[in-house]
């Protein structure tokens, strides 16, 4: 397919790897922010192609992973209500809360449906006026315009039976939290390409300047990732600390102003808890007061539900780039995609799930990541 196949060309990938090899004179740690990028890296073995010393660490950019356990529990409580049709993106249905997952609830007779688009949930609400339709509105800035549109349309059409359980997270505050954390190893970022199609690149500039880190907004195909690494390494070697846009075919400097205006109409910024990381100030969206009639958390009175995470899981350290999945004692043993203990195993885009899916749990030298190759444990 156009705009995909040409970015998977092996010869060009080898050329970019060679250019990275020429650019590097010392070790660097680069974090890719997005779960989609982590998936590309592990799937194509990009981390193993890179020269010794260029280490990729995996960031917190998977909204399914970072949705707090208590929010999953709230979804469970709402979906158990026999009046409710509970709609969600497919990957959220398998995420276990302390009461089990939504798919299990569906198996026991609850009306849980997975939808491709938030607009599908609005259609279901219009077609079922006697039922209460709740959509699980999770995501980063990329998904916010779609979720905002669903709420806005439901309101315009007078669909009082439609509400949303909102768990929206914002990427820049999470990057700041990573840079501020004690023991931070990240020296440059591959920025979240699709988030920036909406938000643009300007909000990353203060982070690059203040913390002295290059941020290269990067796409999701293998050549995108390698070009992103090359641009990051060249900046690191030259002492650069600016925002660069590798993904200019999709990302404009000012993002998508039409989409952002709708987000601002429906949502406002709030503090948000990230699963595995904890609370990060001003790192989420919630519905504006004017839209409270569509706020499932308020309508179903589930805002005081609390939950406790597994004590063994090290997903918090993985999400901050401090550890790799294979360093966890539970990885591939007590914790697998079927029985996940924490954030990074729950969704296929999580770093632990990606390592598991592509056989990085075997621990054999041939399959070891760059951390092992450089002798660091």
């Amino acid at each position: 397919m156009k705009y995909l196949d040409e970015y998977r060309d092996g010869d060009m990938a080898a050329q970019l790897v060679a250019l990275i090899g020429r650019a590097v004179t010392r070790p660097w740690v680069i974090m890719e922010v997005c779960g989609g990028q982590t998936h590309t890296i592990v799937r194509y073995g990009i981390d193993e192609l890179l020269p010794r010393g260029v280490e990729l660490v995996h960031g917190p950019g998977c909204p399914v992973c970072v949705t707090p356990l208590e929010t999953v529990d709230r979804a469970h409580i709402i979906a158990s209500n026999p009046d409710v049709i509970f709609c969600s993106f497919g990957d959220m249905l398998r995420v276990p809360g302390s009461r089990g997952d939504l798919l299990g609830l569906k198996a026991r007779g609850s009306d849980v449906r997975f939808v491709y688009s938030p607009l599908d949930a609005v259609r279901i609400a219009a077609a079922n006026p006697s039922r209460r339709v709740v959509f699980f509105a999770i995501g980063f800035e990329t998904t916010a315009p779609a979720n905002a549109m669903a709420v806005s349309l439901a309101r315009r059409r007078g669909l009082r039976n439609f509400s949303v359980l909102v768990s929206h997270s914002l990427v820049p505050p999470a990057m700041t939290a990573i840079l501020q954390a004690p023991g931070n190893r990240v020296q440059a970022f591959l920025g979240p390409g699709h988030v920036c199609t909406v938000m643009g690149t300007s909000e990353y500039e203060p982070i690059a300047t203040r913390y002295g880190v290059p941020i290269v907004i990067t796409g999701f195909e293998p050549l995108d990732m390698l070009e992103g690494v090359l641009r990051a390494v060249r900046q690191l070697e030259a002492g650069g600390r600016v925002v660069d846009n590798q993904y200019a075919r999709a990302v404009r400097p000012d993002g998508n102003p039409v989409a952002r205006q709708l987000i601002d109409e429906v949502f406002e910024v709030c503090d948000r808890k990230w699963r595995g990381v904890g609370s990060i100030p001003k790192s989420g969206y919630r519905l504006r007061y004017e839209y409270r009639d569509h706020d499932a958390e308020r309508l179903f009175e589930v805002d005081d539900v609390e939950a406790t995470e597994s004590a063994v899981c090290i997903s918090g350290q993985i999400l901050r780039g401090l550890k790799k999945p294979s360093e966890c004692p539970a990885f591939g043993r007590a914790c697998t995609p079927r029985t996940p203990l924490g954030a990074t195993m729950v969704s296929s885009e999580g770093a632990c799930a990606a390592y598991y899916a592509y056989g990085r749990y075997l621990g054999q030298p041939a399959l070891a990541g760059p951390a092992e190759r450089t002798g660091r444990q």
Partner: protein
């Protein structure tokens, strides 16, 4: 989760008060909301996420990495490592 798939717009139309369109992804077509990219026309490529087009893909920018590699190859025979 932030998956974005490039597709070609084949039809643009208004459904009630919403700008919608048909977008083709290598032979499969889907109805996609075009409210956030009101400037697109049939034949344009857009990046689609959860049924919404978020951005129109820029052909000239898309070629840049290939032109960059070609220019390097002209300057200097870039050898590819054997491993």
């Amino acid at each position: 989760m932030c998956l974005g798939v490039p597709g070609r717009v084949v039809e643009v139309r208004r459904e009630h008060d919403v700008l919608m369109g048909k977008v083709e992804f290598g032979g499969i077509s889907k109805h996609v909301c075009l409210e956030h990219v009101p400037e697109v026309r049939p034949g344009d490529y857009v990046l689609v996420h959860v049924g919404f087009a978020l951005s129109r893909l820029d052909e000239a920018e898309a070629r840049r990495v290939f032109e960059f590699l070609a220019s390097i190859n002209q300057l200097d025979d870039l050898t590819v490592p054997s491993s």
